[in-house]
Symmetry: C2
Subunit: 373 residues, 2 copies
Amino acid sequence: MKKIKILLICAILSVPLCLAQTKQQSIIEDFKPSTLNQPGQEFPKVNSQGYARFRITAPDAKSVVVTLGVPGVRGGTSLTKSEDGSWTGTTAGPQEEGFHYYHLTIDGGIFNDPGTLNFYGSTRWESGIEIPAHDQDFYALNDVPHGRVQQILFPSKSTKISRRAFVYTPPDYDKSRSKRYPVLYLQHGWGEDETAWTNQGRANLIMDNLIAEGKIKPFLIVMTYGMTNDVKIGGLRNFDITPFQTLMTDELIPYVDANFRTIPNQSHRAMAGLSMGGMETKTITLAMPNLFSYYGLLSGGTYTPEDIKDKSKVKLIFLSCGSFENAGSIRNTAVKLKEAGINTVSYVSENTRHEFQTWRRSLYELALLLFKD
Amino acid sequence: MKKIKILLICAILSVPLCLAQTKQQSIIEDFKPSTLNQPGQEFPKVNSQGYARFRITAPDAKSVVVTLGVPGVRGGTSLTKSEDGSWTGTTAGPQEEGFHYYHLTIDGGIFNDPGTLNFYGSTRWESGIEIPAHDQDFYALNDVPHGRVQQILFPSKSTKISRRAFVYTPPDYDKSRSKRYPVLYLQHGWGEDETAWTNQGRANLIMDNLIAEGKIKPFLIVMTYGMTNDVKIGGLRNFDITPFQTLMTDELIPYVDANFRTIPNQSHRAMAGLSMGGMETKTITLAMPNLFSYYGLLSGGTYTPEDIKDKSKVKLIFLSCGSFENAGSIRNTAVKLKEAGINTVSYVSENTRHEFQTWRRSLYELALLLFKD
């Protein structure tokens, strides 16, 4: 009887062990350096299934943990020390396609992986890793004509400093000296900054590729810092849009219209943003209906039909999110807005969540719809 | 007798102790966050004397050492653990004015300070700190019209990829649609990349300020990656200039001349570089005397009179370094070149060494001399 019990317990215990072992055995050993690694760095590596493998040198450390892991599994990936003093580990499962932020916890302190580039998110420069995606060609650096990403420093009386923005200008911008362009004002999310849409989002490459394929007419994209009242962690509830709205409407837009060859009117101006940038977009587009005619909320909430006071001023509402976010809400709202006679398009990115792969795809879909007249 | 001996030993031992104590007591407690800190970060801090103070959270670490310290003192600054689990320490002496790279060694591994921004140097993204300088206004972000830093991706058949360069365009570049400008091709040093001259060197701000003060006529600056054959640590001796020279002369210059409003001739084209970039400048200017007429070596060696085959093609040779570098060689060479009838200017940056403060000042001095005709 006791023997049977013990055997049963062993059998029960062996199931997860077997599963775990099967999982381990199924990892294909075709790991390559992540495309976001620093020059010459071998780790982190990613394989064709999306597993990520890390190697960190810290011979005297007690513990090295990577926050990246299977979503929902707390604690990320704990690395194991090798005899040579390096710490190595592979994520317990494949990671979702696209860009992910992560960091290391070394002996209780938070540091970045020296193997990879840093990206501004969560109000700090964090390590980034790129999991190859089935559709990655639309944001790849392809052999096509490239536009420019221009850093401008524009005066801001309201915030009393020169502020930075990046302006994407399409490949033909400097070929002609008279052609004028529509403009998309594109905002980052909470804890990110004006570098996010090009560094993490590859907005410039998405545009270059769309233009090269003849799928869109060229337009400018303007990206600036949207956390003007220094929202700290947990402080989003106290976010006051006013300083940013002033900056955008009284300073940035007039500066861009004066210094770039824009078509400076409402029907050739769009605003979109991801997450908190969507909240900013909603507030500013509704408060200033004569400024923008195309509105985009990317994982950034919805409009109700009642929000729109004058339908004739809205050429498009674009709502998107990842399929692991609240996709139902996006789709339902789009139906209601369309029923109310407002041109609305919803887009749900398959198998992604509140991350940049959702927003890269959303920008691609949005760009196809902008400035069609 | 024994007592006297002991007293003598005590007296001798007490001298450095007293000195050390005096030094400690003399530290002025007016520390402020370094201007290169990440948003909202308090540490690292710098005081008015140039001391740097660090605080790192890593409660379970055995050892945290900062490489920044008094030059010549091996091991940098060892931090001491506080009861709250943070590690704190102040450099043993004031640091020299300007920008310095540094990193942390935590339990034997090399990481960046999460408090500050990273800068590409030593073939990796490193922590940076800024020690206020008596002359810092010339590279400050002042309330003046600002030029742009334009990221371009240009095709390179020789290296088979799109390559990145940054182009500084002066504030008036987009005001006029026909005005054309001279161009300075400006190279970074070993282990750095095309981001160094603006991030560490503040080349764009130096230009903005010089132009605002009416001290120079505006020109463009083009900065691209000069380590085209992947020079690894210690590999500088094996550096082959050929791939970079091809890239520069056959691809970059024609691209810039075709896509920016340049004055595309030898008398309106300059090349300069710091350290390894000086070596590149020397090689390329001598190999291609019909391309450039102004040559600048910034802590990057010298020319001999014999190097210059046709004096009529050289409008200026500019040689510079820090006073803690081999300043005598720069000055002596300048005399010889001048005696040989070549317009040569030497500049020595006071109290700086092979670091960016030398090169910021050198760029300022060089800019004053360029394109005078």
